[in-house]
Amino acid sequence: MTFARPEHSIDTDTLPRMPAWVTSARAETLEDVAFLSGAALNHLHLVLGRAEVPQALFRDRLALRAAEACVGFSGRSERAGELRDAVHLLRPGDLPGPAGETCLAWMRAVERPVSIKALGRALPTLEPGQIAAWLDAGKGSPVTRAAMVLEAVLREAPRADVPGLILADAALAQGLGWEHLVPLLAARLKRADLRKHGDDFRLAFHRALISSVIEAARQAADLARRVTHLKAVAPKLRAKGAGDAVEMFLTRDAVAPSALPLPDRAARRLCDRLVDLGAVRELTGRDTFRLYGV
């Protein structure tokens, strides 16, 4: 059996790499972590400016990771796979449950350009005035501003870590001039970090951001490589509706065959074919209710 080997066919060096002095630095002082988080963010800024990076897919996957972290903060044990299931197996009229709710909040938060309205859609229990006030609670450089937003939310509503982290990421995106929210903070913050104050909090905040941004840049490069391969094999697919199906895979973390614009059997066959071509992966490890993604 022959499998496509994307690694050899695509030049992975087209995306700039994060400098080693960022990835391997051990910073202890506030001054050093602030410098490194700025350097890392600037690098990510350049990576995200590249056309090869599938922006929506990248954000969707980071949203899932952020949701997983937040579910953990709330003392629940669901992992990414269970969150995906909760979102993809939800039928109209059913309740998402606590973990599904957190996951939907993040996925909605990254879907549309940052605005009070879009954030209100992600956080329906908050009133727009409250969202606007919290989003504006910081000043200074983008990272400082985001940290102040999170601090303000947690000071006024100690359990609101999901809104706090979403709004802090939104403030960060605004500060960096990004159109969309990119979930970066939740993934590497620890539960205990959310209870810290002052310089301890800032230190933890920068540190979480540094390692999260390094990881995000790696993931962006990885996804760029994978979607380049998916686009390369797309012309081989002859099924009707294959083009629209590929478009869905290019923008979403996971897709259920039943969600594809093809008849059921054709959709399943297309997914199998894409797996054979090494263009998508089956994400659940199950025989039924499968989900596929790049």
């Binding site: 003392g75 299931d85 909760a86 309740l95 449950g97 039924t288």
Partner: protein, 199 residues
Amino acid sequence: MMAKDRSEPEFDRELSDLPPELRWREWMRRIEAVLFASASPVPREDLARVVGQGASVDLLVEDLAADLEGRAFEIAQVAGGWMFRTRPVYAPAIRAAADVSDQLLDLNEFDVAILAAIAYHQPITRDGLKDIFGKEISRDLIGRLHAHGLIGTGPRAPRRGAPYTFVTTDAFLAAFGLESLRDLPDPEQLNDAGLAARA
């Protein structure tokens, strides 16, 4: 009798003709009235509509709560809003006085155990509950919890037949006086104390 003018006068939120002290008291009374009239928790944005623009609902509620010191009822923060609630010490008196239609009173101990299992393990299927309790959970029991509005259907389980899962609702939080699911006792602590048998 004269026909009533149908167009209601514009509701005056700001009360700008009152001196600040009286205005604040009037806003407190409005919040009190709204909470008194509502059987379910009232969210902040609803309360914000009856007081002046920019007046802090939280501070008004705080002042109102302070006023209620020494009364048999209190303001409780529940499921993202506020509601009036009799203080727990008066529960026996209320039960002795009347056959109260409290939504929890006609649930038996086993019903409540199932409800607790759903709260901790949601989303969970009937089969999942069976695994925890070692016996079939009747549709009746699930139906009873559902009829009380304490549980709802969640995402389907990725299993043969895509069975329904069950999740708790905001009414569940209100009935047990929880602000969010995080107020459930920590399952690990319950375990350590030997109070919970985890599946």
